[in-house]
């Protein structure tokens, strides 16, 4: 009999509530929108960060395939293609590997054009077209630059290659029909020729197919590859798996995304707090309502369902604007977080799940906030809850009243407006404390982030990170993996001359390099050998650190046994010389510009450690038949030259010589790099001039602007999440503060009527409320200023002790606090006066009656 739960009435009550309290509902929907925006933003941004990392791994790998298998026969390729775990395949049929020394460590396959493979590896010719005639070839830009082939359709291309599986080097002449820009980090590429050309040139060579596999399930490609080979019985296969499927890399990307997902924990708390703060505006009404309906027979389940419906009704109108705002915010900020993509990451990596999950969490947040007032009523019997009639929002029960019988007799004291104001403040202690704590916490977060942000010193960073403001690189030395071709004349001598004439240029220098065979006698090479053969503090013989670099090992062993090694003679002048002697650390000897300019001395530079890896200072060395004395030995700290050197020069000693001497030694030299420092206040003007000067060339520019952008993006990434959290908490804290002031007035409608009936004028009432506002602000300020200052100071000390960041100059700043205080003061003065008008609109009698 005593079972029934009709739920239709709940819908009606919610509908009516929305109609009756439009103002509050609008405020709640706005808060829901904000919460949904934050969830959508953090989920979308997290997913973009994750996808961005995977995408960059994929770019590094150079293919979208999950697994790439090499040196397969047609039968093996067919077996793998037909495996049920394989969703799709791309096949490459190379006939050989380009063997020009100038390609350095790059691996360029001469192969029949495969459009599918080209699409998968971003190697579709973008300029010109794919080969159609037998003598046509399409190449990537790095290969063109390394081989000094002009970027012109029809340009003659002379290539040498080693057939797949080995054999004698072959050569051929082609006509350039197209090319594409490739990722500068890539070491693998293709040289596309037609099917007919491939058959003719590759005739008689065994099959060495390369097969790219796309799997149905992208997870753990390493394990899947082993399963595939085991299932098909294929053994001893060379294969690689996509870096984007690598567990450790995926975990790293997940960790980065987690930084954004973690933001949701704060959003949950802040969202509930924000919504609850707004709901508290009608706390008294809510408690009376729930107590009333409970007394009339509404069951706890019906009350819970009422809260669920209420949460849904508040959620629905807030979702769409929340999604739009969250996505827009993400689209606005994502390019600073996921950099170097070209397209906007929010659109490029668009996914639906952040919207769905954002909506779900928004609803749960709203539901929790809606259930909180119910929980506070549920603790009491209907009789106790209905007894609540006072101005204080706390339910007073006979139980709690029973313990308050003692009062101190202080004698007669006159009441003043100020005393009344202070007494009133003590009535809202709980909520005032909540407001104070949320303001304190938010301002601590904001001031700490602000202090951190302003302490990162861009100038210091640029000094350390950028060798100079601009570095022009020969096209054959644009990429780190690209071997510099000393035959290149792309940087004409007029270019540095023209640039040095610009008024923004403060200093300019050129870097020229040449690899030369050299000899070190037993005495000269002894300290080098001692260094590399020695066991270090970790118990490892130092040369073993280079075990993965066979070219370095071969060069070192050659030097150890015969004394022959490759010296990289580097001609430097002005800025380049200055950088060579200021950016590197001197291990032996000292630098004398006067002596250096005589052309009798060189500066030797060795491996990156504080150890002797060059012949000692004072040693005489012969370079191209000319004798020099080593003036000083420096630590190879940062390279003046871009690009890579030949494989034979992996083990080398660099010798800096004046540019004049270099020109005498190598009259037909090219310029590898130009270093430029400018007056940064004229950066835009200089960049326009630079672009004009270099128009029509393939010269690569590394700009200070790139470093500035990196610095600012990194700073943005560091500060964005705490700024967001602090900002949201500040909004909540300010709302709470406003709420405290508002509640203090709205619930005292009757009190004010009583005061007025006893003779208090409106002016006196206004004065009382202003005093209350000022007192509240004073207490807040008294808490916030020392609290925030102390917290930021302590945090700063801790940061200084634990943060070993070379580009930090500690700057203590409380700017967010100084901006917030006047805003709080305005609220403290404006809110009481505004709401006083609101509650004293009716006559004293009307108010006394309506309060009853």
């Amino acid at each position: 009999m005593l079972q029934n739960n009709n739920l239709k009435i709940c819908r009606k009550l919610v509908r009516r509530e929305l109609q009756f309290h439009k103002g509050q509902c609008l405020l709640l929907v706005t808060a829901v929108t904000l919460v949904c925006m934050l969830y959508t933003f953090s989920f979308a941004m997290g997913s973009h960060v994750y996808d961005g990392f995977l995408y960059s791994y994929r770019l590094m790998y150079g293919s979208g395939s999950h697994i790439i298998c090499y040196d397969l026969s047609t039968e093996q390729a067919a077996l793998l293609e037909s495996h049920n775990a394989v969703k799709d395949t791309v096949l490459l049929s190379p006939i050989g590997t380009l063997s020009d020394e100038m390609l350095g460590n790059r691996n360029v396959k001469l192969a029949e054009f495969s459009e599918k493979w080209a699409r998968e590896t971003d190697s579709v010719p973008l300029y010109g077209q794919a080969p159609a005639e037998e003598d046509e070839i399409a190449l990537d830009e790095i290969t063109l630059n390394s081989l000094l082939i002009p970027h012109e359709i029809g340009a003659e291309v002379f290539l040498t290659w080693v057939p797949e599986g080995g054999g004698e080097e072959r050569a051929g002449v082609f006509r350039l029909c197209g090319w594409w820009k490739n990722n500068t980090g890539e070491t693998d590429s293709c040289a596309w020729i037609t099917k007919e050309a491939a058959e003719e040139l590759g005739g008689g060579t065994p099959e060495h197919k390369t097969l790219g596999l796309t799997l149905y399930l992208p997870g753990d490609p390493e394990r899947q590859a082993k399963d595939l080979f085991s299932d098909t019985g294929i053994q001893n296969i060379t294969y690689t798996t996509n870096l984007a499927g690598n567990r450790a890399r995926m975990a790293y990307a997940g960790g980065k995304a987690m930084e954004f997902y973690r933001l949701n924990l704060i959003v949950v708390l802040c969202g509930i707090l924000m919504l609850y703060t707004i709901l508290r505006l009608s706390d008294r009404r809510n408690i009376q309502f729930y107590a009333g309906v409970k007394a009339l027979g509404m069951t706890p389940r019906q009350i819970r369902v009422l809260a669920v419906y209420r949460a849904a009704a508040l959620c629905l109108p807030g979702l769409l604007p929340g999604w739009i705002l969250g996505f827009s915010l993400c689209a606005l900020l994502a390019p600073y977080v996921v950099v170097g993509l070209g397209a906007n990451p929010a659109l490029f990596f668009f996914r639906l799940w952040p919207f769905g999950l954002g909506a779900l969490l928004t609803w749960l947040t709203v539901l929790t906030a809606c259930l909180l007032p119910i929980r506070s009523v549920a603790k009491y019997t209907p009789a106790e809850a209905m007894r609540f009639t006072g101005g204080n929002t706390k339910i007073k029960t006979m139980r709690s009243m029973a313990g308050r019988s003692k009062t101190k007799n202080r004698g007669l004291r006159r009441t003043t407006i100020r005393r009344m104001a202070f007494t009133e403040l003590s009535r809202h202690k709980g909520q005032s404390l909540l407001a104070a704590l949320s303001l304190l916490l938010s301002l601590i977060i904001l001031c700490c982030v602000w202090t951190k942000g302003v302490s990162y010193d861009e100038e210091k960073y640029l000094e350390g990170a950028a060798l100079c403001d601009y570095r022009l690189s020969d096209p054959s030395a644009a990429a780190d993996t690209q071997r510099y071709n000393p035959k290149s004349r792309s940087i004409a001598p007029e270019i540095p001359e023209t640039l040095s004439g610009h008024p923004a240029v403060e200093n300019i220098g050129i870097v020229c390099t040449m690899e030369v065979p050299m000899y070190a006698g037993a005495q000269e090479r002894a300290p080098i050998i001692e260094t590399f053969e020695e066991t270090d503090e970790r118990g490892v013989i130092r040369k073993e650190y280079m075990a993965d670099a066979p070219d370095w090992i071969a060069g070192y062993e050659k030097m150890r046994e015969s004394g022959e090694y490759i010296g990289i003679v580097t001609g430097v002048d002005k800025l380049a010389l200055e950088k060579a002697v200021t950016q590197n650390i001197f291990i032996e000897g000292t630098f004398s510009e006067e002596d250096f300019d005589t052309g009798k001395y060189v500066i030797a530079s060795g491996a990156a450690s504080l150890l002797k890896t060059t012949p000692p200072a004072g040693t005489k060395v012969m370079i191209c038949g000319r004798e020099f004395e080593i003036m000083a030995c420096v630590l190879f700290e940062s390279s003046l030259a871009s690009g890579a050197d030949s494989r034979q020069a992996q083990f080398n000693v660099t010798y800096y010589v004046p540019i004049g001497v270099f020109e005498e030694l190598f009259p037909e030299h090219g310029i590898r790099n130009v270093l430029i420092d400018i007056d940064r206040s004229r950066q835009d003007e200089f960049e326009a001039f630079l672009a004009d000067t270099l128009r029509g060339t393939e010269i690569h520019i590394t700009s200070v602007r790139d470093h500035q952008l990196n610095f600012r993006n990194a700073l943005f990434r560091i500060c964005m999440i705490p700024l967001f959290v602090g900002g949201v908490m500040l909004v909540i804290g300010t709302l709470n503060f406003t709420n405290v002031l508002m509640m203090g007035i709205l619930v005292r409608k009757r009190d004010f009527a009583v005061y007025e009936s006893l003779g208090m004028t409106k002016r006196q009432l206004g004065k009382l409320l202003l005093w209350e506002g000022l007192s509240c602000f004073g207490i807040m300020t008294g808490l916030l200023v020392p609290g925030v200052a102390a917290a930021v100071w302590l945090w700063g000390k801790w940061q200084l002790a634990h943060m070993n960041t070379w580009c930090v100059t500690w700057r203590f700043s409380l700017l967010p606090l100084w901006i917030s205080l006047p805003v709080l003061l305005i609220i403290a003065l404006a809110v009481p006066l505004y709401f006083m008008k609101f509650v004293t609109k009716e006559s004293v009698t009307e108010r006394l009656r309506s309060a009853e």
Partner: protein, 224 residues
Amino acid sequence: MKTNTNIITVHGLKKYYGSGPRQVKALDGIDLTIKQGEFTAITGASGSGKTTLLNMMGGLDVPTEGEVIVDGIDLSRLREEQLAVFRRKKVGFIFQNYNLVPTLTVEENILFPLDLDGAAPDMRYLEEIIELLGLPDKLNAYPEALSGGQQQRTAIARALAAKPAILLADEPTGNLDSQNSQNVAGLLKMTTKLFHRTLVMITHNPELAQLADTVVKMKDGRIV
């Protein structure tokens, strides 16, 4: 139509707040029986325990000790969910402050206990009550647009709507002037007689108490 059946039985009812020397004894061993169809008035000074006793009879509060049996149901055995359904089905409350849902119209307020129950209303019975209480032209109005007397009449109509076993009225005329008080009390007595309901009413007004079949006087949590 009075019968000899006890509709309410209160036995050894105690309600204490706090403990030790500060303990407040709101009810201190109440034994009371109320017969079906009877009009009982509870009188006493402020703090004598009248409202606490009424709340215990209506399942709005839980006793420290003792039992309350209403229409054969021992309230101490009911869970919170069952107590709520008990209140809606068995008890009609009339509060001093009316306790109308401000977002519902007069008609919806009257039907509220039935809506909570999902029960079909007896329209003829309801129309009769509405007519009797003079509310036909106020059915679409919201409580805020009604006078105190009209609000209290709405509360009475609501209390009768679900045909409860007992009507509990806590100073139903406390917020009304003397004319309205007489009217409301008269209506209460008439409707309970007409619809054969048991009425328990708290009142300070001796004139209204005289309308009752039985008057229970309370002092310091006891019946005197």
